[in-house]
């Protein structure tokens, strides 16, 4: 066992006798990670936590696809099928998406703005452990769902938990309570971390980094955290009401006492739709950092990118009821939400043009991070187009709650978000570990996952158009869905194989990967100016920047950016 570098260096600096004889056991290392308030360690723990649950939710999805591969299948009982799609959705949004984006924000934001940590390191640890606690509570329903003494069961209410499914009459036992409390606690952790990241970005930028000189990643995370503040509150409020209904006999969503089931839908989607943008904005952030570096050009239209981000955040707070067209709203309501939904396409379209504008005429290097970002551009465009289709009210009446919708949002969350997250992992892995991921295995991962993704989710649009509803555990033969469902399931195999290559790549590269050095991609933002992995204090000296690409200025003293910005 080795001595801790931190421990000995602090002792050295303070002139204390170094305790060289003391050896570090596994428990000491574990203890160090559990009690840490360092943003980099917490960021990595968030990411590992997200990836762990990604595997869990991926297995849940695979089971769902196996059940649907052939008609009249009895692989899973109906109730377990309901439990699996509930847990798959809840896990992917709250225990995979949120931890991953907060993990990257934690790790990267202080490094990119030249700060030594987040504004409130202990609050950061608190937020992380709240999220962990929330996730464990959700999965505790497996063992304690029927109460401490009974058999366990998972919640089977769907990830948006529509009333009256959640009422005591229809959700007996405690699995729904674990769902509610788990999501509530995780949400409080998200609010704590969002407050922290906003404060860090507004108050701890290094000298010279005005808001309009920040890396776009910091901008997008600032806006994302602002949306978390506004969007998680309604979810928290709705969950509190649900708990009052279930435990205290209140009547918020109890139609017999005059309560409204539709009100839950409004409250949930006031959270739920902005949540989509909370998840996708960090995806945009990764693309906005990776695409310029691998195109060897500064980002095209920086101020417009910032403006478009703020516009997306603003518009996305007024589109939630497009999830509810089939509930039956007034024509004015339908029109308003259809138009506002279409309006989101404008700033997102601007972003796509700007990324293409960045690549245009650039000297593009197709390393693995860039491959994932290029695929993201194409797939996000398709996701946006089907989104605009669904904003047309009559079209939505036809296809809401069909597999077309499932295909649409998987294009957003897998095709756009997950692809950029993979790109980000390949891009920043060398910074966090000091070693590059293998390009060879990375290309296998990319191509297998890309093929699997398209085989599954391109195909999935069609059974939706042919009328296959969501959340059915099986279907009759001869409706024209059989072959299509089989193709969707086959694609999952390719995706799983791709993920295997990814896991293998991470494990192999962690020990055998090529040494990265400080700046393996010849990039321009501040995190590449420190060592890989960075020391606990990030930067030894206070930094001063003059442009959006401080490392460019250092590398090209005769042609610095600040002369032109």
């Amino acid at each position: 066992m080795n001595t801790s570098p931190t421990q000995s260096s602090i002792a050295g600096v303070m002139g204390l006798p170094e305790d060289a004889a003391r050896t570090w056991t596994v428990f000491d290392h574990l203890h160090q990670w559990v009690v840490t308030v360092d943003h980099k360690k917490l960021g990595l723990m968030y990411i590992m936590y997200g990836l762990l649950f990604f595997v869990v939710a991926g297995i849940e999805a695979s089971l769902i696809r196996i059940q649907l591969a052939v008609p009249n299948n009895h692989f899973l009982p109906p109730r377990l099928f309901n439990e699996l799609f509930t847990m798959h959705g809840t896990t992917m949004v709250f225990l995979v998406g949120m931890p991953l984006i907060f993990g990257f924000a934690n790790y990267l934001v202080p490094l990119m703005i030249g700060a030594r940590d987040l504004a409130f390191p202990r609050l950061n640890a608190f937020g992380f452990w709240l999220s962990v606690f929330g996730g464990l509570l959700l999965y505790f329903s497996l063992v304690g769902g029927m109460g401490m003494t009974g058999a366990g069961s998972m919640p089977d209410i769907g990830w948006f938990a529509y009333a009256p499914l959640t009422s005591p009459a229809f959700s007996r036992g405690h699995s729904t309570d674990y769902w509610t409390i788990g999501v509530l606690v995780g949400g409080l952790g998200s609010i704590a971390t969002a407050v922290n990241i906003i404060t860090t970005i507004l108050c701890l930028r290094c000298k010279g980094m005005t808001l309009m000189k920040m890396p776009l990643l910091a901008w997008l995370n600032l806006v994302m955290c602002g949306m978390v503040l506004i969007a998680i509150g309604p979810l928290t409020a709705a969950q509190i009401m649900l708990l009052f209904d279930r435990f205290l006999g209140a009547h918020f969503f109890d139609t017999q006492a005059g309560g409204s089931a539709v009100l839950w839908q409004h409250f949930f989607w006031i959270f739920g739709h902005p949540e989509v943008y909370v998840l996708i904005l960090p995806g945009f952030a990764f693309a906005s950092e990776i695409i310029p570096v691998f195109s060897r050009k500064a980002i095209f239209g920086y101020p417009v990118m910032v403006g478009a981000t703020v516009a997306i955040a603003f518009v996305s707070l007024g589109v939630w009821a497009h999830h509810m067209f089939t509930v039956g709203m007034t024509p004015i309501g339908n029109t308003f939400f259809a138009i506002s939904t279409m309006l989101v396409g404008v700033p997102t379209g601007i972003k796509i043009f700007n990324w293409i504008g960045t690549m245009w005429g650039g000297k593009i290097r197709f390393d693995t991070p860039m491959l994932f970002c290029v695929a993201f551009l194409v797939q996000f465009l398709i996701a946006g187009l089907t989104g605009v289709m669904l904003s047309v009210v009559p079209f939505d009446w036809q296809l809401n709650s069909s597999y077309f919708v499932v295909a649409h949002f998987h294009f957003v969350l897998v095709g756009a978000l997950l692809f950029t997250i993979f790109g980000a992992i390949y891009y920043w892995f060398p910074k966090a570990t000091g070693r590059l991921l293998s390009e060879r295995l990375g290309k296998w991962h990319f191509w297998l996952f890309l093929i699997g993704f398209h085989v599954t989710f391109d195909t999935m649009h069609i059974p939706g158009m042919l009328g296959m509803p969501r959340r059915i555990y099986t279907y009759e033969a001869g409706r024209g869905w059989d072959a299509l469902n089989m193709i969707c399931t086959v694609g999952v195999g390719f995706q799983a194989l791709g993920i295997l290559f990814f896991v293998g790549n991470v494990l192999w590269s962690l020990f055998k990967g090529k040494r990265a050095g400080n700046d393996p991609w010849d990039a321009w933002t501040l995190e590449w100016s420190t060592t890989s992995p960075p020391p606990e204090y990030n930067f030894a000296e206070p930094l001063v920047v003059k442009s959006r690409r401080p490392l460019w200025d250092i590398k090209h003293p005769t042609d610095p950016d600040w002369k032109f910005e």
Binding site: C203, L204, L229, I230, G233, P234, A237, F244, G258
Partner: protein
């Protein structure tokens, strides 16, 4: 958020950024406002939709005195902060204690109102939609008053121990921001429950 008072080097004139504490508190207030708005919307949406009695008009009395107390505590906490900035810790302690007494009286009155409603007038959270939304909204606010009071009491304890000095004025100001927020929310809750809802 270290608890040790640090002497900050004055930031150079050409580079200053907002205060951490104030920024974070404003963020928290935004998040809390989102939670409160949902409860307010639920209250407004369910006005007059109860399937059975009692109605607000039958059981609610205007809590005028306690409202005046809570709102004036916003003034006393401002006096306290001003005293601390000028270095007069004695006067700070007086006004801070006044704030706690006023907030505590408000909470006491809420408790009395609830006791009366539950035991004499037969309105519980289970009775009807009015009971459900009333106890949730007023209760959520009372919970925030309680949290604020606990924070104020902690500072009071430090004041009695003689540990609160002029350099802590900014931290007390951050706490005061939260207290002002709780007061503003009460104006909204009062309007919704005792004026619009009656």
């Amino acid at each position: 958020m270290s608890t040790v008072a640090t002497t900050l080097t004055p930031e150079s004139a050409d580079w200053s950024q907002p205060s951490k504490g104030r920024t974070a508190m404003i963020c928290l207030i935004i998040a809390e406002s989102a939670i409160f708005s949902i409860f307010v919307v639920a209250y407004l949406y369910y006005i007059g939709k109860s399937a059975s009695g009692p109605t607000p008009r039958q059981v609610l009395d205007l809590p005028i005195l306690s409202s005046i107390c809570l709102l004036s505590s916003s003034a006393t906490i401002t006096f306290a902060i001003r005293a601390l900035i000028s270095g007069d810790t004695g006067r700070f302690g007086f006004w801070w204690l006044a704030t706690i007494v006023l907030g505590g009286y408000f909470l006491f009155e809420t408790g009395r109102e609830w006791h009366d409603l539950i035991y004499n007038k037969g309105l519980t959270i289970q009775t009807n939609l009015f009971g459900t939304t009333f106890y949730s909204l007023v209760g959520l606010h009372a919970f925030h008053v309680l949290v604020g009071l606990l924070a104020l009491l902690i500072v009071m304890g430090f004041t009695f121990a003689g540990a609160v000095k002029r350099e802590h004025a900014e931290r007390c100001e951050v706490l005061a921001l939260y207290w002002h927020f709780v007061d503003v929310v009460w104006i909204i809750v009062f309007t919704v429950v005792y004026i619009i809802g009656l």
